[in-house]
Each structure stands twice: as structure tokens, then as C-alpha cells.
């Protein structure tokens, strides 16, 4: 009887975990992105920089290089100011939520940012590798040529 109960509990936990993993597989925008600030680096920073390009912040951000330096901080502060957020230069839940408000679903694994803040760039995000890998892509608005692409995670 006890063994059955343990087995049932384990099965429930495993099924729940599987469902959670499956639930994360679709395009879910900026949900769950980590807090980033000056000194951060890596794929999520590249994703932030790519997003700031779509918000007209290319002049401040400079290259999409995954390094959260002064340029990225300035671009982020400009974005936060423009959108009425607390302009602290820290990409936290409010900032990701604001980005999400601008995002549009394209397909089950693809979403994008295309705003009036930039006349030059739009940015898309795609889940690949059985939805385990998220990539970003910065493209020209007029010609569909991509200028930057890389991995968020």
C-alpha cells in the first residue's frame, strides 16, 4: 500500500515536471529572463542589446557583443525613460515586462519586436533545437538582411 502511494506520488511529480518542460517549449517572450546590470555578460545580455536595437537604441548600445557596458546601460536608461519606467539601468522584471508589451507572436517558436522607436532595425527571437535553444536576430526593416544573430541560451 505504502509502495503504491510512493509510486503514485513519484509518477505525479514526474508527469508534472514533464508538463512544465513542455509548457516552456513555446514562444514565451521575455518571461523568466534574469535581472541584468552593468558588468553582466553572456547570451541574455546579447538578447537585451538586440531588443534595444528594436527600440532605437543602436547609437547608445553599439555592437551586440554580450557585454553590459556603459553603452548598453545608457541605451537601457533611454528605453526606460521613453516608456515611463524607473530609469535605473537595471533590466529587471518591469523592463522585461515592458519589452513583452511590444512583442508580437509570429509562430509557435518565433516572436519579434518591431517598434516605431527604430526606423532601421527589428529584432526576432526563435526557439530551435526542439525548443531548447533561444536565438536572437537583428535585421534591417527595409531589406530583411540580418546584421546580428546569436544565442540567448
Amino acid at each position: 500500500m505504502m509502495k503504491k502511494k510512493i509510486g503514485l506520488t513519484l509518477s505525479t511529480v514526474m508527469l508534472g515536471s514533464l508538463l512544465m518542460l513542455a509548457g516552456m517549449a513555446y514562444a514565451n517572450g521575455f518571461s523568466g529572463w534574469p535581472t541584468l546590470s552593468k558588468g553582466s555578460s553572456g547570451g541574455y545580455v546579447s538578447g537585451l542589446q538586440a531588443s534595444l536595437y528594436a527600440m532605437g537604441q543602436q547609437p547608445s548600445v553599439g555592437a551586440v557583443d554580450g557585454i553590459f557596458g556603459t553603452g548598453t546601460e545608457t541605451g537601457l536608461i533611454n528605453f526606460q525613460t521613453n516608456t515611463g519606467l524607473v530609469a535605473d539601468g537595471i533590466a529587471g522584471s518591469d523592463t522585461w515586462s515592458e519589452f513583452h508589451d511590444w512583442a508580437t507572436f509570429e509562430t509557435y517558436t518565433l516572436w519579434y519586436l518591431d517598434t516605431s522607436y527604430s526606423s532601421t532595425y527589428w529584432t526576432s527571437f526563435a526557439l530551435t533545437n526542439n525548443e531548447t535553444k533561444l536565438t536572437y536576430r537583428v535585421s534591417y526593416k527595409g531589406s530583411n538582411t540580418s546584421v546580428y544573430s546569436g544565442t540567448v541560451y
Binding site: P59, T104, E106, T109, S116, T120, A126
Partner: protein, 223 residues
């Protein structure tokens, strides 16, 4: 006197040459082309969104960065796309705002939305088309035609899960439709069995965006 003239000329030439070299070095370091684009006035374009836009940011200058050499390109030349693949029309319709039947879309009083751009991409699962249209009163609409990657049901659920705002489910011409009356962008998605269509706008109302989606569905059903 001659010496002075020669010296001044040489100094000027040296100054211009070194200035040019410094500029060239900086330009190659930052990897940007000489094309400079002024962004449109943010205050003007986002007036309807009631965002806090300081006037000092109205003159942000964007530079057109050169593509990194290792970036994989998914853009497709439209001349390589078989006729009949692009189903979204070159001219879209919108019911005139002053028409009494605006919401029901029954009025014949319509205006044309001129297509201002059409792009195609292929990510390996079929063509994605992205077109922009402009109305006579300056509203811009982006229209997507994309393949359905998984099942229609899963995709529709994906739409509902994606947005933080309430997603309203409805039908356009019997097709499953979901729309979002977001704070900054209005989006309408509707689906046939094998394709998804999206109409989105940053400066039109949700009623106008739905109206354009309705006309798009009408035009698609005529094909």
C-alpha cells in the same frame, strides 16, 4: 614668403590627411556604413500611446551597422518565390471611419491601404511574408502570412499563452481568431488550416485593426 606658403600648404595637407585617417580608423572599428538614419519623432509617433517621451530623445541618430560576416541569412528574394505563394494582397481595404457600419464591416465605403513593403523569409518550414501597409490617415499596419509549424490547436493555444494582456477569442468568417488590445500595439491573429495571418498596428485602434483583418480574410476567401 614662398617658404611660408609652402609650409602652410604642407601643414594643411597633413592635417586633412590625418583627420581622414582617424575618421577611417574609427569607422572601421565601429563597423558602420556611412548611411545615417534619423529616427522619426518619437513624440509624434507615440502620441496615441500616451508614453512619457522626453523631447531630448527626439533626435536619436541610428547608423546602419554592416552585417556581421557569419550571420546566416534567411531573407528570400521575392523573384525566387513561386507565383501564388504570396496570398496577402498588394492592396488591402479598410472601412471608412465615418461609415455607419464600421464595426459590422458591412459598408461598401472603403479606402485602400497601400502596400509599402513586402519581405519574404524562409526558416526551413515554408515562407514567412511580412508586408506593411499605410492608410490615408497615416496609420501603419503590418501583415504577416506564416506557415503553421505544429497543429492549429497548439498554435492557437500558443497565441493565448504568449500575451500578458487578455486575449479575446472570436471568429472572422468562421476562422479561429484571437486579438489583443494592448497598450502599445494592437494585434489580430486568424488561422486557416495551414497558415497563420497576423494584422498588427502601433498607431491604429483595435477596431481598425480588426476591420483590416476582416477585409484581409474576405480578400483571401475570394482567391
Amino acid at each position: 614668403m614662398k617658404k611660408k606658403i609652402i609650409f602652410t600648404s604642407l601643414a594643411c595637407a597633413l592635417l586633412f590627411t590625418s583627420g581622414g585617417l582617424i575618421y577611417q580608423t574609427q569607422a572601421s572599428k565601429t563597423n558602420v556604413s556611412s548611411e545615417v538614419i534619423l529616427t522619426p519623432s518619437l513624440a509624434a509617433s507615440d502620441e496615441k500611446n500616451h508614453l512619457n517621451l522626453p523631447s531630448t530623445l527626439d533626435t536619436q541618430i541610428e547608423e546602419k551597422v554592416m552585417p556581421e560576416p557569419n550571420v546566416e541569412q534567411f531573407g528570400v528574394d521575392l523573384s525566387d518565390v513561386a507565383p501564388g505563394e504570396v496570398l496577402i494582397p498588394e492592396v488591402l481595404k479598410i472601412t471608412d471611419k465615418n461609415s455607419t457600419n464600421f464595426s459590422t464591416n458591412e459598408s461598401t465605403e472603403t479606402s485602400d491601404l497601400k502596400q509599402t513593403n513586402l519581405l519574404a523569409s524562409d526558416y526551413g518550414n515554408g515562407y514567412h511574408f511580412r508586408a506593411t501597409y499605410e492608410s490615408q490617415d497615416g496609420n501603419e499596419f503590418t501583415v504577416l502570412q506564416v506557415p503553421i509549424e505544429i497543429s492549429l490547436e497548439t498554435t492557437f493555444q500558443g497565441v493565448k499563452d504568449f500575451y500578458k494582456e487578455p486575449v479575446i477569442e472570436t471568429e472572422i468568417n468562421g476562422l479561429p481568431t484571437a486579438y489583443v488590445d494592448g497598450r502599445v500595439r494592437k494585434v489580430v491573429h486568424f488561422f486557416t488550416n495551414d497558415r497563420g495571418y497576423t494584422v498588427t498596428s502601433l498607431n491604429a485602434s483595435i477596431e481598425e485593426t480588426l476591420n483590416v483583418a476582416q477585409h484581409l480574410a474576405d480578400q483571401l476567401s475570394e482567391k
